[in-house]
Each structure stands twice: as C-alpha cells, then as structure tokens.
C-alpha cells in the first residue's frame, strides 16, 4: 500500500478495511464496556457475557421472523434483555460480589451451559441468517468495483450513539455520579444515602442490554449460530485486559485498537491469521500488566 | 562513630499532583534506633514503603550497605539485608507460627525455583533454616506458641510474629512500622523490651505513635508533617523544637 502514489483502488481497499476495523471495534466496545463496568463496579467476572450477545442475536432472528421487522425485533429484544439482566442480578449475581474469583468463574461457566441449553430448547441449534432491513440494504460505491454496505455504517453509527449516551450517562448525570461513587467507595456511597443495590442492578442490566444489542445489530452481518458467544467473549476479554479493568474509556480505545489490529492483521499478514491481536496483548502485558488505562 | 547502614537522600514520592513524601532524608546507623513520628497522613508509611521497595520513589536515592536500592523490587532489597514489619499485620494467617517464620527463614537460602533438587527434598529437613527459625521465634518471645495457628493467637502475639518473620531473614537494617499498634499496656512493655534487645547489631527505623515507647527507645528522632521533615535530631532537641511543639507534640500531649 503506497501512500504517495495513491492508487484509488488501494485507497478504497484501505478505507474498506479501516471501516471494517472500526466497526468491529465498536461492536467489541459494546460488549467490553458492559464487562468492564460490571467488573469495575461490582467486582464480578462474568464468563457468560458472551451468552448475552448470542441470546440477543437469536432473539433478533426469532422476532424478525415473527414481526417481519428487524427494528421492532431489536426494540423488543432490548427491553427483554434489560429486564432479564435486572432479574439475573437481583436473583443470582448480587450474592457473588464478595466471593472468590474462582467461585464467580465456576458460577458463570455453569450459566453458559444453562444459557446454551435454553437457547437450544427454545430455538434449536441451527445457523440462521437475518435479513438486512430493506431500507438499509444498499451500498455506497467507492470505485467501479468496490462499495461499502450502508448497514455496516449504520451499525457503527448506532454503536457510536450508544457510546456517547454511555459517556453522558456516566459523566453528566446524577445516576452516573452515583455509579462512579459506588465504584470508588461502596460504604461511603451507602452512607451518603445512595441506593447501592439499585445502582448495581442498573449497571448489570445495562451491561446485559449492551451485549444483547450488539448481538442483535450484528446478526445480519455475522449470522446467528450457537458458538457465537464464546468467540466474541474471548475478544472481549482481550479488549478489557488491554484497556484496563474498570475503565470505559480504556475499553473504547482498546476495542478500536483490537478491531483495527485484527482486521489489518488478517489482511496484511494472513499467515498469522488471528494471532495479531494476541501478540498485541502479549506486548501490552510486558509493559502494563494491568492494562493501558488502569485506574 | 557508628556504621552507616542505610542512607536515604532527598526522597520524593508524588501521586499525581500530591507529594506524599517530599525531599526526605534519613540515615540509619548500626546499634541505633531512629524513630519517625508525625500525624496521620504525614507520609511515614509511604517513606517506609519507599525504603522497603514496596513503592518506587519519584526522586531521590537510597543506599543500603553501600548499594543503591531506589526503585528495586522488594525481594532484592530484602536479600540485601533489609527487614520490614508492617503496621497492618501481614502474616500467613492459616499457617502455624513455626511455618510462618520458617518460610521467612527459608528465603535466606536463595533457592532457585528451577532447581529440581528443591522440588523433591523435604522442607522440614533444612537444618539451617530450622535453626534460624527457632532463633527468630525465641528472640520475638513466641516459643510457647510455636505450633499454634497464626489466626488463633492474640493480636499482641501476632505483632510479635510480625517481628519474628522480619528477624528470620537475618537483616542488618530493620524498618518497623508501628510495632505497638493496637497493644495493651503489658504487651507494649514487652514489645519495647524486645525492641531494646534488638538494637544491638541492627540499624533500626521505628515508625510509631506511642510517644512513651518513642522516647524510651529512640536515639534519633525525625518529625514528618505533610510529607516533609520539620525537625530531626536527638529526642531532647526535637522535643524542645518550637515548630514541632506547634505542629504535633503540643496536640498529642
């Protein structure tokens, strides 16, 4: 890829990969933000986080088939996911905030099994495709032969909007302030009258919701299949490790970094395939074992 | 003139904009106890952490037995002859007193974790380690508790265990962070007697709030307020220093 004798074709290819990388990164951010918040504030590691992504995708497929509208499916799915997250926190997770990481690892691993089976019972084990909504099913032409799907841009757009909303929520609202206070010093926050239980529920439900939304909007691109939870979970963990636990900003920077490194890595050095991201993680670990933005 | 074993010069530690320790210098001589006092938040624990390697300094130097140790890892500083006890009891609670001290004593052997010989030999059979361990327990006055689980001994005895573990590595320099913390009258007197016995052959730095103990033990006194040294000298000098009286001792007494 030469910069100075810019071939339009080369540039278009570069742009496509760039947009793909950013899109992947933003999607990862949706998952990583929830994971890092839940861990940073409540101290819980959740291996089943990828399952929420998977359940979101299956819900998108199922409801789209029912209502013939992806948009409606996403709205319904989001509500269900948030309620589900709230109940899960209230009924199970809140008893594990002070437990060993080992216990949390086991608990959430058990949940993975349960979620997989529930999905299997409800919706089976088949792979499904979800149609891109008609309105968005076109591409912006870049050259004679290359174009970029509008839906992917919309995906990225939605992620950006949600990221901005998250930022505003956490830094500009009273709820956000309470969340940050709770993360900083739980006892003090409670003494000041902040309802910590409520905060925990909100944060957890938010995390689950974001993961499910990610699965839903990604479903037309990635299709819907049983193993999709675990493959995204691992990338999510890498993002959180690189970014630093508890830092949403770190998760954003790290997610974009991972998205770009993975995309360009696969294009530029195909022999390494998916290794590029792990090499990035290994490199970060050598200098900042607690992540780039560790608080 | 006593031998200078540890010399810290112009130590500074910043956390963001805040200087927890600001241009502090401390010298520790053999057979001398140097007490560091000051109100809470004065930076005494931070200073101790800088000297023991738990925190790297932002600026300044530390020479231990002639070698520079600023920014080194705690384990290498320990191996160079520095022992440190903690204000918040930092022992192995589930182990017996013997096992607690034995581990500290074992570290002196400098085993390589990669040497298969030490994977299959018996830890109990290390005679030198056992001797060292027994001696440290005896020095700290815990012989009667040797096989008791550390979590079940009294608070005062746990503080003694803190000291025993520090002694088991046979250090020449001792940093003791509030060894009398939380002790009743009788226990405190015991501890003071122990510290007095330890003075010989060691250079000691004592961070303490208990003023009776400080004036009973200290050969040299440094007063810290807000990260800086406001006075340093013999206990009598420091006691009569108007700055010190205003800032600290006046309120305490």
């Amino acid at each position: 890829m030469r910069l100075f004798s810019l071939d339009l074709m080369d540039f278009a290819n570069f742009l496509i990969q760039l947009l793909n990388g950013v899109q992947y990164g933003l999607l990862l951010f949706m998952l990583a933000a929830g994971l890092t918040l839940i861990f940073g504030i409540m101290g819980v590691v959740n291996l089943a986080h990828g399952s929420f992504y998977m359940l979101g995708a299956y819900m998108a497929w199922f409801f789209t088939a029912q209502f013939d509208s992806l948009v409606l499916a996403i709205m319904l799915g989001t509500v269900l996911a948030v309620v589900f997250g709230w109940l899960l926190e209230w009924g199970l997770f809140r008893f594990f905030y002070h437990r060993d990481h080992l216990d949390q690892v086991l608990l959430t691993f058990g949940l993975i099994y349960i979620f997989e089976e529930v999905r299997s019972i409800l919706w089976g084990d088949d792979v499904h495709a979800v149609q891109v909504p008609e309105l968005l099913n076109w591409s912006i032409p870049l050259t004679d032969t290359l174009s970029y799907p509008v839906y992917r841009l919309v995906m990225s757009g939605i992620c950006v909007l949600l990221a901005i909303a998250l930022y505003l929520l956490i830094s500009k609202t009273r709820l956000g302030m309470k969340i940050r206070a709770g993360a900083f010093n739980r006892e003090m926050a409670e003494a000041l009258g902040i309802n910590i239980r409520l905060i925990h529920g909100v944060v957890f439900a938010l995390g689950v919701g974001l993961a499910a939304i990610a699965g839903m909007i990604a479903s037309p691109i990635s299709s819907v299949y049983p193993g999709m939870g675990s493959s995204v979970l691992i990338m999510c963990f890498v993002v959180v490790v690189i970014g630093g636990i508890g830092s949403v900003r770190g998760a954003l920077v790290s997610a974009l970094l991972v998205g770009l490194v993975d995309t360009f890595g696969k294009v530029l050095v195909p022999q390494l395939a998916g290794m590029a991201v792990y090499m990035l993680m290994a490199g970060v670990l050598l200098y900042k074992p607690e992540g780039l933005f560790k608080q | 003139m006593s031998e200078l074993l540890l010399s810290a010069q112009h130590l500074t530690k910043r956390f963001g904009g805040l200087a927890a320790v600001n241009d502090v210098s401390v010298d520790l001589f053999r057979d001398r106890i140097h007490a560091v006092i000051g109100p809470n938040g004065a930076g005494k624990s931070t200073l101790t952490n800088l000297l023991s390697g738990d925190l790297p300094p932002t600026a300044g130097s530390i020479r231990l037995n002639g070698e520079e140790t600023a920014g080194h890892a705690p384990e290498s500083i320990s191996r160079m002859g520095l022992g440190r006890s903690y204000q918040k009891t930092n022992i192995f609670l589930p182990f017996t007193v013997w096992d607690n001290v034995r581990l500290a004593a074992q570290s002196r052997e400098r085993h390589s974790p990669w040497n298969p010989l030490h994977w299959v030999s018996s830890a109990r059979g290390l005679a030198r380690v056992n001797e060292r361990c027994e001696r440290a327990i005896e020095l700290a006055g815990l012989t009667h508790r040797t096989h008791t689980v550390a979590a079940t001994i009294s608070h005062g005895e746990q503080r003694q265990l803190e000291i025993a573990m520090t002694l088991a590595t046979e250090p020449t320099v001792l940093l003791l962070d509030e060894p009398l913390a939380g002790m009743g009258q009788a226990e405190a007197e015991s501890m003071v007697a122990l510290l007095q016995r330890l003075k010989k052959d060691h250079a000691m730095m004592l961070v303490e709030h208990d003023m009776d103990a400080v004036f009973a033990l200290a050969d040299q006194l440094t007063v810290m307020v807000n990260g800086q040294v406001i006075a340093s000298g013999s206990p009598v000098e420091v006691r009569n220093d108007p700055l010190v009286q205003a800032a600290y001792l006046g309120e305490e007494h």
Partner: protein, 328 residues
Amino acid sequence: MSSPKATLEKLPRGVQILLALGALALAAFPFVPMEGRDFYLQMLTQMMILAIFAMSLDLLQGVTGLVSLGHAAYFGLAGYALAFLTPADNPISLWWSLPLAAAASGLAALVIGFFVVRTHGIYFIMVTMAFAQMIYFLFFDNKALGGSDGIYVYFKPDATAVGLDLEDKTHFYYFTLAALIGVYLLLRRILFSPFGRALSGIRVNEHRMRAVGFGTFGYKLAAFTLAGTLAGVAGYLWAAQTGFVNPELMGFHMSAHAIMMVILGGMGNFAGAIVGAFAFEYVMHFFKDLTKHWQLLMGTFIVLVVIVAPRGLLGLGERFAARKGDQP
C-alpha cells in the same frame, strides 16, 4: 479478591486408607469378570488420565493459588505432538515420545507463562484463557495442523522394550494407573518440598513472600511450567488412548472442566483432584445418558456446587466440623 484459604495438606488417616483402597480397587478391576469389561476399562482409563490432568492444575490452582482458565492448551498440545510424531505406518517409541511431548507442553507453558504470570487476579484468569484460545484457533484455522477435523494417531506408542503392548487395553490401563500413582507421589513430594512450601506461601500472601525475599515471579513461572508439563503427560496419554486429537482438547470447555474437577474434590492436596476428576466425569456421563439436554443439568449442577459447596466435598466436611465445634 482471592481469599487465602488453608487447604488440607496432610491427609487424615481415614482418607489415606481410602486412597490406598481405591488404588487397590483400580488395580484389581481388570480381573473382575463382567459384561462390557472393555468399555469400562476404557472409561476408567480416561478418568485416570483426566485425574492426572486435574492434579497438574491443582499444583497451579490449589497450591499456588493461580486460577488458570487455559490449562487445557498444554493438555492438547502434547496430544498433538504425539499425533505429529506418529507416522502413518508405524508406532513410535514411548520412551522418547512421551518426554518430548511433555517437554513441548512445558515449553509452551514457559513461553506463555512468561507473559501471563506477571498479571494478577482477574487479569490472570482472562489472559490464560486468551492465550489458550489463541492456540485453539491456531490449530482450528490451519489445515496443516489438522484444522477443525483434528488428526488421527494411528498407532499407540511402542513400549514393547519392557514387555508392554499398549495396543492391549489392559496393558494401557495399568500403564495409566502407574502414571497416575507416579504423578500423585511426585506432586505430594513437591508439596512438602522447599519449592512447594514457597508456592503455598505465595497463595496465602504473595506480598509478604516478596517482602521476606522470595522472587515470586520465578516461583510462579516454574509452577506454571511444571503444571503445563504434567498436563502434557495427561494429554499424551489421552491422544494415545483415544487415537484422535482435535482442537477441542485445548478449548475453553476443557479448561473449565479441569477447574471444576479440582474444585469438586477439594483443592491443594492432589487426592481431591483425583476424586474430583472421577466424580465429575461420572456425573457428566450420567447426565449425558439421561437426556439430550444434559448441558442444562450440567450447568445447574455446577451452579449448585458453587452455591452449596464451593470448596468441594472437603469444604463441606470442614464447615460441618466447624459448626459442630460451635455447639455448646
């Protein structure tokens, strides 16, 4: 936040006797006439192999306190090593292929450990998982390494030099039993060695260990490498026994199962790992026979264990004894 728990290290007399009886029972089993003997022989062999795998993790988790979610990587790698070493038309000698395969796993553990051991707590859990997944995808995505289909091991290793025909299920069974006992005895020895004592200290209070002069990074890395090597021994045996390796052997589920096995029986004494491996496999087979949706049962079982008996059967026993002691 990991709580430094006391683990049961010196096994009570009763447990020692039970262990000895168990070993005798395993030794006697092939002589018992029964239907489907071959099937049970294979099943027990697999359980013993998994017990070795679980014990290797116990060194890391129960003794040193390092929760690795990627231990299966070293299990699978040695299996693949055997698969690559075994040509299509001949068996290879056990005597150099086993050490070589285990060394390959050990080397991988050393390299990965170098990066991973510098992290703590939750980071450690996540990065061990990440690197194991990296290895998983390395094999999954590469046809040259067998891809998702895996590789066959056409011949069991050749041990005829000592009169063992490993193609014979009974011979293989006894070889595995010997390996199980050998690894158990080695690990018990390590537990009470200076190295093992240091690892226990690291589990309980790493900070103080450093303060008294232990280079804990080196100790943790050595434990990680040794655990990986022993996992390799198990993986080699697995590949030899089943005649087949695929990336799932290095996958996340395998690693999580190992953790479960170690927890179930009680951590830190290796006997618990053996019991846990047998128990876990038995439960899984039981559920699989019961229903197509066995994962639901398995998941519920795991969740229940965490809620009711997070320190395994041993933990239950300890708590029970403690409560009895509280009564007037």
